[in-house]
């Protein structure tokens, strides 16, 4: 890794009441990289993502984007900086149409960029077919496509993807990971949180393993795939 990090977390500490969720997490994402965060349930993966987009306030530590401290920036301004977050559980606006959801994704833009919308529809043709349909009536996989598409509408530099495979038919998981590869191919930097470690590591350049609020392991995807610890804990192979 070069010294030029797009996103850098420094000793991030976050707690829910008295319960510490992150106990000093530091990580870096360079421009153009795809980085994944692995870990068991409750390891702090989603907390990390929600802290970067400032839905959560860290108790200590810093978040740097382009070298600038954004720890105190309110959530709605983080999007303006170029960080877009597709949250865990998709969180699409169920009683709005697919197209309205995408328009809201472009809320920070002066007007909805037609080319952007075109690109999102090309990535996920299913969304165009259903653009007048209420988002709540889509299948889980389609909602995930919508959540990702919506987060692309603000032309982010950095895309935070939280559990894009959660609760989705296996056949769709593969297709969604292919789309994420395409998105990264367009120059969007991706920070990905995943339970599906194998798929995530196949896609990512590097990875971090979170364990109860601390970084337990980090390395290139190849190293992590080969690591005994990772194999045992997340890839279901008994050593």
């Amino acid at each position: 890794m070069s010294g030029e990090a797009l996103l850098r977390l420094e000793d991030l500490e976050v707690s829910y009441g008295n319960i510490a969720a992150l106990k000093g997490v530091s990580l870096e994402v360079a421009k153009g990289e795809v980085v994944c965060i692995l870990g068991a349930n409750g390891a702090g993966k989603t907390t990390t993502m929600r802290t970067i987009s400032r839905l959560l306030r860290p108790r200590a530590g810093r978040i740097l984007f382009h070298g600038e401290d954004i720890t105190q920036v309110p959530a709605h301004k983080v999007v303006h900086l170029g960080i877009s977050h597709s949250p865990e559980g998709r969180r699409v606006f169920g009683i709005l149409t697919v197209e309205e959801n995408l328009w809201l994704g472009a809320f920070t833009e002066k007007r909805v960029d037609k080319e952007r919308l075109r690109w999102v529809y090309e990535l996920f043709p299913r969304l165009e077919e259903r653009r007048k349909q209420l988002a709540g009536t889509l299948s889980g996989g389609e909602q995930q496509m919508l959540a990702i598409g919506r987060s692309l509408m603000s032309r982010p530099e950095l895309l935070l993807l939280d559990e894009p495979s959660l609760g989705i038919a296996p056949i769709l998981v593969r297709s969604i990971f292919e789309r994420i590869r395409e998105i990264a191919g367009e120059g969007v930097t991706v920070l990905l949180v995943e339970q599906n470690a194998r798929a995530a590591l196949k896609l990512a350049d590097r990875g971090y393993v979170l364990d109860v609020g601390t970084i337990a392991l980090e390395g290139s995807s190849a190293d992590l795939l080969a690591s005994e610890k990772v194999q045992e804990a997340y890839l279901g192979k008994k050593g």
Binding site: S53, L55, P74, A75, H76, K77, V79, H80, S84, H85, P87, G89, R90, R91, V92, F93, G94, I95, L96, E100, W103, L104, G105, F107, T108, L134, A135, G136, T137, G140, Q143, R150, S151, S154, G167
Partner: protein
């Protein structure tokens, strides 16, 4: 048949007032999931503010321009009260348990109501006649110019609100904030600003409603916000609280219902039948007539 059409006209008039006030309840509930109990007192305050503005600024003139100015000034003043209400009574309790906010709402309502009494006194005041007393007798049914104005202006305001909510970006931001505040923040929506805007819109519409109450019923009292607020609140529930077209529909239905009960049975029974209607609707459709029907995703 005369009674029918007469009560139809009366019901639509009262109903549009209920609808205007109900919108304030339903919009705040939609985004904050909070019953804004102080809304009724705010509506009462608007009538008294109208009284003062009329007396001090407008004097004896009641030209069309002066009337429009009174409406605009009262709406602006009430919107400011609404902003203060949100800022000091509700925002500090945003993260607190729901009950604390409800208690704060009731407290704010009492403060407002007693504030009105301190400023304008406990006696009933007579609201000025801003609209010329023109009546039409259409085959035995008497309709006043005031009724026509109330109905038309209400419909116009509601149509404008509907367009704003459904067709503009800010409207979409309001709907998004009502569904999921965190997700709205992730879109870059400043949810605090949306909430302020909702109080501005709800309070201004309530203010117009308050002025209509003064113009239509003439006598205004400091505690009248309780009565009209309750009716408008019931209208919001009948329509499906949190649902904007629902508040409009609920208001009109409730106005018609009370008018027909008064016309055919007795006005003393109007309250009893109104609550009976509320109970029946809640039994049949707990989410109100237009309450959310699309199941939220898991």
């Amino acid at each position: 048949m005369d009674t029918f059409f007469q009560q139809l006209a009366n019901g639509l008039t009262i109903g549009s007032i209920y609808a205007l006030v109900a919108l304030g309840y339903t919009m705040v509930y939609g985004v904050l999931k909070l019953i804004n109990f102080a809304h009724g007192a705010l509506v009462a305050a608007s009538a008294f503010i109208g009284l003062t503005i009329y007396a001090t600024i407008m004097g004896e003139s009641s030209s069309l321009l002066a009337v429009i100015a009174i409406f605009a000034l009262v709406a602006a003043a009430t919107a400011c009260l609404g902003i203060l209400l949100e800022r000091f009574a509700y925002r500090p309790l945003r993260q607190a348990p729901r009950l604390s906010a409800v208690v704060s709402a009731l407290g704010a309502s009492l403060i407002l109501q007693n504030g009105i009494m301190l400023v304008w006194g406990p006696q009933m005041r007579i609201f000025p006649q801003l609209v010329p007393q023109v009546y039409w007798n259409i085959g035995g049914v008497v309709i006043s110019l005031l009724q026509v104005i109330i109905l038309l202006l209400s419909v116009l305001l509601m149509a404008a609100l509907y367009f704003f909510i459904e067709k503009t970006r800010m409207g979409a931001a309001i709907r998004a904030s009502a569904i999921d505040q965190d997700a709205a923040r992730l879109m870059g929506i400043n949810v605090n600003r949306v909430i302020t805007l909702i109080f501005v819109i709800g309070s201004s519409l309530g203010a117009i409603g308050g002025l209509f109450i003064g113009l239509y019923y003439r006598g205004i009292t400091f505690e009248m916000g309780w009565q009209y607020g309750l009716y408008a609140f019931i209208a919001a529930i009948i329509g499906g609280i949190g649902n904007i077209p629902g508040a409009m529909l609920g208001g009109l239905l409730l106005g018609l219902f009370t008018a027909f009960i008064s016309g055919y049975i007795s006005s003393t029974w109007a309250d009893a039948f109104t609550f009976l209607l509320l109970i029946l609707i809640l039994i049949v459709r707990p989410t109100g007539l237009l309450g959310e029907r699309v199941a939220q995703k898991v």
